[in-house]
């Protein structure tokens, strides 16, 4: 793999103005596929979530899934789009073994939703409006596995295997208009935009919205132009950038690469680029060619979709609270300061905190865990915090243990590492690692008696009502038990021992 030259981001920004564009594919979570009644299920035995339609058998015909249409309209509405009064599917003709009919049934010049926008809040609170060109419906392709070559790569593979389980899964493709004026905020905006789309479709309940499973996939277009020039530069399209961090990194990398190409006096090639998480760089895919004559024409096996205004309004009425309003409400409910809440949003853990609170934690506890413990671990592991695998129940359980005095905060962090390492539930790990705070009063009382005997003057002071002197005894007990005792319990026992009301 050859490495392309890059300029530093700062230098690239000095010389050029980036223009972005995104195509985000959202897999809908309907029960069945876009055009067939086969189940839309992830990860079963290959070629079993299919019937004759998904395999493109001779003689088959498509029938549109009504729920998929409704989900698409909901997405359009949530993106502030106009909903087409009438629209159609077309055929996009190209040969590829993951495409069973050798055409993709997709909307082309008549998308179901168009002309929308999304207001994106950046980390410092700046609001940036991204214009939405269209949201259109299409079907997913099957899955290819390349065998015999290096690490499942297509290059050098001996043969490929095709599983059509994903074939026909409903997709909504959301296409932005060219995004101008983001400047050096471009990578951050890219990440925030994709995060916002993901949040919207998740909030609507129309997609599982898991990027790691490919429910939300992003193709990022980047071009540069010298500052002050109107005309856009030639763009590259980086395909399948499948995490929020990768979106940010890919846009940043492409800006740096384009800048280097332009600096060398060469033209940028209009092409597909592939993102590589390991090297945090892109490689050249395929240049646009005459093979891109897709010969679109209206799908003759399907009839037009007419979205009556009544139907659209009915669907609008079912829309959940929009994410921006939801954020306002959650901040108020949780009592976070503006800064605290923005940190939570920027760290991408708002949903996780909400789920943790729903599982029984207080807002303060939930924030303490996600922001204090988990975000850092995610950064070290180079994944999004939500992808680390921490369940809300785990946090609730850990917190209960701390509050009950079974473990202290330091131990809890250790237990969390154990959970993430797959060692078991918190309770199991506490047990296995022998982490429990000493709670049997026997050994504690022994230590307390020893401490009181060693400092009789302090004992007298406490007896005499100077309860604040108790710290010296507690400290001695904690030292004797090597920090495993619950300090609160120790205090209680000392007072009891001395016959003083606490």
């Amino acid at each position: 793999m050859s490495t392309d030259a890059t300029l530093s981001f700062e230098e690239a920004m000095e010389k050029y103005d980036p223009v972005l564009g995104f195509e985000v594919h959202v897999e809908l979570n309907t029960k069945t596929k876009m055009f067939s009644s086969a189940p839309n299920v992830f990860g079963d035995e290959p070629n079993t979530n299919v019937n004759e339609v998904d395999l493109g058998m001779p003689g088959v015909l498509p029938v549109v899934n009504k729920t998929a249409i409704e989900s698409s309209i909901k997405i359009g509405l949530a993106l502030n789009c106009k909903i087409a009064e009438t629209c159609r599917f077309a055929r996009k003709n190209y040969f590829y073994p993951d495409t069973p009919k050798n055409f993709q049934t997709s909307q082309y010049d008549e998308p179901i939703a168009y002309d929308g926008y999304l207001d994106i809040e950046l980390s410092d609170g700046t609001v940036f409006r991204v214009e939405i060109e269209r949201a259109h419906m299409e079907e997913d392709a099957g899955k290819l596995t390349h065998m015999g070559g290096a690490a499942g790569r297509i290059q050098g593979a001996d043969y490929s295997l095709v599983d059509y389980n994903r074939s026909g899964v409903p997709l909504v493709e959301i296409v932005t208009k060219p995004i101008q004026g983001a400047g050096s905020r471009a990578p951050e905006l890219a990440k925030a935009y994709v995060a916002a789309v993901r949040e919207i479709v998740k909030n609507l309940g129309v997609s599982d919205a898991k990027m790691e499973r490919g429910n939300v996939r992003c193709d990022a277009n980047v071009s540069l132009r010298p500052h002050g020039r109107e005309r856009f530069g030639i763009r590259s399209e980086t395909k399948n950038v499948n995490s929020l961090r990768a979106v940010e990194h890919a846009v940043r990398y492409e800006i740096q690469r384009h800048a280097a190409v332009l600096d060398s006096g060469e033209p940028v090639i209009q092409e597909t680029r592939h993102w590589h998480e390991d090297t945090r760089s892109t490689t050249s895919g395929r240049a646009k060619s005459d093979a891109d004559d897709y010969r679109y024409f209206p799908e003759p096996d399907l009839v037009p979709i007419v979205a009556s205004r009544e139907w659209v309004e009915e669907l609008r009425a079912t829309l959940p609270e929009p994410p921006a309003e939801r954020r306002k409400r959650l901040q108020a409910d949780w009592g976070y300061s503006d800064l605290e809440f923005r940190d939570v949003v920027n760290a991408g853990v708002m949903d996780e905190i909400e789920e943790t609170i729903a599982a029984g934690a207080t807002a303060t506890v939930a924030r303490k865990w996600w922001m204090g413990e988990i975000v850092g671990r995610a950064k070290n592991a180079d994944v999004d915090p939500g992808q680390l695998g921490v369940k809300p129940e785990t946090i609730v359980e850990l917190n209960k243990m701390v509050e009950a005095g079974k473990i202290n905060n330091k131990m809890a962090a250790e237990v969390l590492d154990g959970v993430l390492a797959g060692e078991g539930t918190p309770a199991e790990i506490v047990e296995k690692r022998g982490l429990a705070v000493v709670s049997d009063d026997g050994p504690l009382l022994e230590a307390i008696d020893a401490a009181l005997a060693a400092q009789p003057d302090v004992a007298d002071k406490i007896r005499g009502g100077k309860v604040q002197a108790i710290g010296a005894i507690v400290g001695a007990v904690m030292k004797a038990t090597r920090g495993q005792a619950d300090a609160g319990r120790v205090r209680e026992l000392i007072l009891e021992r001395l016959g003083v009301e606490g």
Binding site: T48, N51, V63, V64, T86, Y96, L161, R286, D293, V303
Partner: protein, 98 residues
């Protein structure tokens, strides 16, 4: 309307994924030229004000409820496969990327 020549046919055959010999390309170009000539009146038949008809009988909003129906077993899916391996269709190497 443009005439159709041998290079056009070669390009179309590539798009349609049909290998053609030099002799076939020549013959096809000759035959298609005659056919294309005979259909050219079509482009002048209708004015701009005439809408296109893609369905002979207009219907709209034909939908299916989102209810799971039948599926194939792996054996059924692969029953006609020229080549298969571990429950999947096997194809020779793909050089060209999507």
């Amino acid at each position: 309307m443009a005439a159709i020549n041998r290079d056009d046919v070669a390009h179309l055959a590539r798009l349609a994924h049909i290998e053609m010999s030099a002799e076939e390309l020549d013959r096809m170009a000759g035959e298609l030229a005659v056919i294309v000539e005979s259909v050219k009146s079509v482009s002048e038949a209708a004015g701009d004000d005439v809408p296109a008809t893609s369905h002979p009988i207009p219907l709209t909003n034909v939908f299916r409820e989102d209810v799971v129906g039948h599926t194939f077993t792996s054996e059924q899916s692969l029953s006609g496969a020229p080549d298969a391996y571990e429950g999947r269709f096997k194809v020779p190497a793909i050089l060209d990327e999507d």
